[in-house]
Symmetry: C2
Subunit: 199 residues, 2 copies
Amino acid sequence: MNRQEQKLQTRQRIVDAAFSLLNEDKSLSAMSLREVAREAGIAPTSFYRHFTDINELGLTLVDEAGLALRQLMRQARQRIEAGGGVIDISVDTFMEFITDNKNVFRLLLREHTGTSGAFRAAVAREIQHFIEELSDYVVLQLKLPRNIATMQAEAMVKLVFSAGAEALDSDKPSVVETAKRVKLQLRFVQLGAVKYASR
Amino acid sequence: MNRQEQKLQTRQRIVDAAFSLLNEDKSLSAMSLREVAREAGIAPTSFYRHFTDINELGLTLVDEAGLALRQLMRQARQRIEAGGGVIDISVDTFMEFITDNKNVFRLLLREHTGTSGAFRAAVAREIQHFIEELSDYVVLQLKLPRNIATMQAEAMVKLVFSAGAEALDSDKPSVVETAKRVKLQLRFVQLGAVKYASR
DNA sequence: TAAATTAGCGTACAGTTGTAAGCTGAAATT
DNA sequence: AATTTCAGCTTACAACTGTACGCTAATTTA
């Protein structure tokens, strides 16, 4: 086996180990290098062959999480084109994502308000991407002026993320309940934005 | 000096020390007992004369933060009765509170998505109080049906908290900018809720 | 006044952390 | 075939953690 491949593989093992440690009661900042190494099956000091820092690992994780978020958005778009209400499909897709990738979403949520400024900024950037993509969509779909569409998109993303946070701690029926509530709230925002634009 | 008083005073020193440690790069879970004790000017082991656990201290902090939140709400109401737009006054009051009590708000924000289920639940309760109080107000003010008012209030509180989170990392002019944006978004929600109710 | 309570302290210990230093063996290069 | 590179290891150490134990001195109670 190639040496580079081998190394990349180990690196991935580290990343996977880190994600698997991010359960409901462990955050990035509380994750020790030794713990990750243990989980990845390498010696603590070998960690340094792949990352200079545990912070560098953290940024890698945030990047990967952002990637997953963008894939989510793409998936939602496809489903919408296949037919169905935009809000319903989007929220359902999002909730599905959260349920299947609890730790990924937890990372974003937690580090968004976490103790590392760099992480907070990185997550904020990912969310901003998300908002901009949704904003593009709103402009096309509802033909609202850009500035209003942006405000609408921002509000919607924040509400959905907020609902997602609740969903992380809930069982299946509660998630459905939460989804219903946020759908209604998104409808408020949409109705309001349209009305505001036509004032 | 009384012995009980003395003890309460020390206890308060511990609580204050903890709050003062909750700056932008230290969270409750990352706060060590020894650190708090050092800051409070007592021996590490003396901590146990006041709290069984550092978790117990944490819950105390959340309680105090919730108290501050309720005072904030009261203050906003008074100002509104003195005249002015509900949304403008509320957001301005909130932003003012955050600016003056960064660490208190940081605690709520962080522990809302933190690693302790007990803390998450405690914060969620405080936010729920906040939502209910606002909901009462909306029912009276806009004469909306209870269920719609609740949805509206929930959306508004979440948007404001979200904006508050941004404000924590921003300088004064950016905070004003953020406040403007969230005010517009709240207007969307309100317009939308009214429209939805009259459909 | 004598006895009991207790807030706070100092010492101590085992466990965890990050990371420095140097070794090894296999892969890559010459 | 000889040399260089380097991923991963073992060992080591100082810093920090939570907390058990017992003492002290002052307040409270009897």
